[in-house]
């Protein structure tokens, strides 16, 4: 509900709260980090992790058979290389970016992200019934 007598203000005419501006910077970095994780994980996994399974020579894929003949199973999958016990595409495409983002989070939380001087820790008077809403800075909706 719009207060009578108020006028629209062009955002450009506003002197922004520095904490809001800092929050915008932090938002931009968060979205960039997410985009980097996304690009790395999806690209590496798509190129290295897909399509390396193969059919057993004696058992055509997707063919139902009453009498199964499993034939000679391969000793191991040729396309699968293993690093630290996991398929290499999982290591490079998921484990490594996960590890790196955890390290980047340390930088983000303890270096880049700033503490706010906002009145944290001070509980504003909760809007208990009977108390005018405006006392907590709230527009009266009645």
């Amino acid at each position: 509900m719009r207060d009578e007598g108020t006028v629209a203000m062009k955002p450009s005419a506003l002197s922004y709260d520095p904490e809001y501006v800092q929050s915008l910077r932090e938002l931009a970095v968060i979205l960039l980090l997410f985009a980097a994780c996304f690009a790395w994980t999806i690209c590496v996994s798509a190129f290295a992790g897909y399509g390396s399974a193969h059919s057993n020579s004696s058992q055509p894929s997707g063919v139902a058979s009453e009498s199964l003949d499993f034939g000679d199973l391969p000793e191991s999958l040729p396309a699968t290389s293993i690093i630290l016990g996991m398929p290499s595409w999982v290591f490079w495409g998921i484990f490594m970016p996960w590890l790196i983002i955890d390290i980047v989070v340390v930088w983000f939380c303890f270096r880049f992200m700033q503490s706010s001087s906002f009145s944290y820790g001070v509980e504003p008077s909760p809007m208990t019934p009977g108390e005018p809403a405006a006392s907590a800075g709230v527009g009266n909706e009645q």
Binding site: T6, L14, G49, H54, S61, F70, M86, V90
Partner: protein, 675 residues
């Protein structure tokens, strides 16, 4: 190592009772925390304390409540089942959890907390209403939350009860109490109908009772404190299970190498027959328990039970075939077929899987039954993707029994990468926690803590349940039970069956921490956003307190009654409601925190646009596939959450730019430099 041989061991009396002991201790701790919380709340304002913990959450309380609320029963039941069924590709399915704490907490945390403090908001509808000074927006937000969360609550009650049942089903005292309860409820409307599932009913009553009491009694702080305990239980459970699993399987490399040679099983339909010695000679014979042979004779017996998950082994000369039943089968004389029509034979048909990986086939021992039975394969259905393919469990898109494109084509991987991260950020239950931390330093440390927490839990779960494929073959028949089975097997192998109880408390803790949060959100929506705001603004604190307790008990009781005969599609409902909330709230809330030009018309259009688009996709999918409820239409293979969220963003932007800018003082208040 032949894990199946361990079955009798891990069902030891001690192991069984440890689950009950851990459960009783756990419930006692939860109740103690609720009592402590209630004592504390007597010294502060009821509304702020009960619904928001007086905005005083420190690091551990804030981090753990955020993490635990995000992890529901799906994290410890559904997710392990998916890893088990599809292999290493599920690491990609869950990979976006690497960035989820950063995005979900960092993107909104500071701004939502400071805005809530400026307005004095206690709930999310409070915040939205006050930010725009629009009662209509608050009402719409309240109704959307109620619509989605009430459905979700019923599904979560069912999930919690099933998990509890899995925990306790082997405990003799639980079995006896269940049967007594079923007898006592005979003839009572609604409750009496559930007498054929007495274990579930008992678990539902216990689970609901505990959650309702401690939530109603202790409020937000009790929920947060129990979340902390539950979060610790979850990570402890996983961290105990990981080394036990790696040790049992001989190392991760060994497990992955074996997985790279595995081929998926096949779904088959079996005909089971208990045939008289004078009856027709079956073409294919099976050997079950030779020791039990003759214990049951078809001429004298009227029925014979083959339990669910029974191993049936068929020997045909040199060739061995191994099956595992997916359902319980009751052999009776009512069935007959051309192959074995005989008046003196007991028969049944039952779905099952057939192992195709030769080392598993060779080492599997049969289940001991009351008498040997004959097995005939009526029908065999290969996996739509992965049948006969080695390496399918260590590469994408992963095997799938029903989809020819595999479990996760790359387009779906893209969808899930966005979905887990942004769906988590858009949950009102997560947002309300961001309003409750006490200082921005707490937020910074909590983002780091939850990042490490998720890394420890989710990647470890992938490792554990990939190893489960090697250790426990054949659980495709009932893969939702793989978590408790792994807990029992790994602790038995390590000679520490008492640890199973602690590990098994993790999934129970996960679902409980989600349910209590949702219950509190619903009661806050009804009491704070409807009663106080719309009906009686002058209500005394005493009346509000009484009403809050009554509403929490009433809503909890209602959900419990609905969960007696719950809808079947548990996981589908949870996904529908969780994603639906995010589609409706994510962008309107983000824009209201960051975009000064955003106005109440844009916010209203964004919430309703996201909701309508998302619901329409589900409605279209359900109409197109009436036999499969809760099926969404997915344009270009993208999940409705993505489409709904994008629609919400687009509508928010267009409507805002099309209408008047917000009043200057309002903009200055939330974005301007304070004088």
């Amino acid at each position: 190592m032949n894990s199946s041989l361990l079955a009798p061991q891990f069902a030891s009396e001690f192991g069984r009772n440890s689950a009950l002991l851990v459960f009783v201790l756990y419930i006692a701790a939860v109740m103690f925390l609720a009592w402590m919380s209630s004592r504390l709340s007597q010294r502060t304002s009821f509304v702020s304390e009960y619904f928001l913990g007086s905005r005083g959450l420190g690091l551990w309380a804030f981090a753990m409540t955020f993490a635990a609320t995000s992890s529901s029963g799906g994290s410890f039941i559904g997710f392990p089942s998916i890893v088990y069924n599809h292999g290493w590709v599920v690491a990609l399915w869950i990979a976006s959890y690497m960035a989820t704490p950063l995005v979900a907490m960092g993107m909104l945390g500071k701004r939502i907390n400071s805005t809530a403090r400026k307005t004095g908001a206690i709930t999310i509808p409070d915040l939205i209403r006050d930010r725009f000074e629009s009662p209509l927006l608050g009402t719409v937000a309240t109704l959307l939350i109620l619509f989605f969360l009430i459905f979700n609550l019923v599904a979560q009650f069912k999930g919690g009860s099933i998990i509890l049942q899995t925990l306790l089903e082997d405990v003799p005292i639980f079995q006896q109490t269940s049967l007594r309860l079923a007898e006592g409820l005979q003839g009572i409307p609604l409750l009496g109908d559930s007498s054929n599932k007495p274990g579930y009913l008992l678990c539902l009553l216990v689970f609901s009772g505990v959650v309702i009491i401690y939530t109603a009694y202790g409020g937000f702080r009790a929920v947060v404190w129990t979340d902390v305990m539950q979060g610790i239980v979850m990570v402890a459970g996983v961290m105990i299970m990981l080394p036990l699993t790696l040790w049992a399987v001989g190392g991760l490399r060994s497990a992955t190498e074996e997985m790279s040679r595995m081929t998926p099983p096949r779904w088959v339909m079996l005909k089971l027959s208990l045939t008289s010695p004078s009856g027709p000679t079956p073409l294919s014979n099976i050997a079950l328990s030779s020791a039990a042979a003759g214990a049951l004779h078809p001429a004298t017996a009227s029925a014979m039970e083959v339990p669910q998950n029974s191993w049936l082994v068929m020997e045909e000369g040199e060739r061995r075939r191994v099956f595992r039943t997916a359902n319980r089968a009751m052999l009776t004389s009512g069935e007959s077929s051309a192959a074995s029509s005989s008046s003196d034979s007991l028969t049944a048909t039952v779905p099952a899987i057939e192992l195709t990986y030769q080392p598993h086939v060779l080492r599997q021992t049969p289940t001991v039954l009351a008498a040997p039975i004959d097995v005939q394969v009526l029908e065999s259905t290969p996996y739509q993707y992965g049948d006969g393919m080695a390496g399918v469990y260590v590469s994408g898109p992963g095997p799938d029994a029903k989809k020819a494109s595999g479990f996760m084509p790359i387009s779906l991987a893209v969808s899930f990468f966005f979905m887990w991260t942004f769906s988590g950020a858009g949950q009102p239950s997560s947002m309300v926690r961001l309003m409750a931390f006490n200082h921005s330093d707490t937020l910074r440390r909590a983002i780091f803590t939850v990042s490490i927490y998720y890394s420890m839990i989710y990647f470890s779960l992938v490792v554990i349940f990939c190893c489960a494929r090697v250790l426990l073959p054949g659980w495709e028949t009932e893969s939702d039970r793989i978590m408790p089975e792994m807990a029992r097997v790994t602790t038995a192998i390590a000679g520490t069956p008492w640890l199973a109880g602690l590990i098994l408390a993790a999934p129970f803790a996960a679902v409980m921490s989600t349910v209590d949060s949702f219950l509190l959100m619903i009661s806050s929506a009804i009491v704070r956003d409807i009663y106080v705001r719309k009906i009686n603004a002058q209500a005394s604190e005493k009346n509000i307190k009484r009403l809050t307790h009554l509403v929490t008990i009433f809503i909890g009781g209602l959900a419990m009654l609905a969960a007696i005969s719950p809808p079947q599609l548990l996981q589908d409902i949870i996904v529908f409601t969780g994603s639906g909330l995010s589609s409706s709230f994510l962008f309107p809330v983000t824009l209201m925190l960051y975009w000064p030009r955003f106005n109440h018309q844009g916010a209203l259009a964004g919430m309703l646009g996201g909701f309508l688009c998302y619901s329409s996709l589900y409605l279209a999918g359900t109409l197109a596939h009436p036999q499969k409820m809760m099926t969404a239409f997915e344009p270009w293979g993208f999940h409705p959450f993505l489409i709904g969220s994008l629609a919400s963003l687009l509508v928010s932007l267009v409507v805002t730019l099309w209408t008047q800018p917000p009043p200057g003082p309002l903009v200055k208040r939330y974005f301007g430099r304070s004088d």
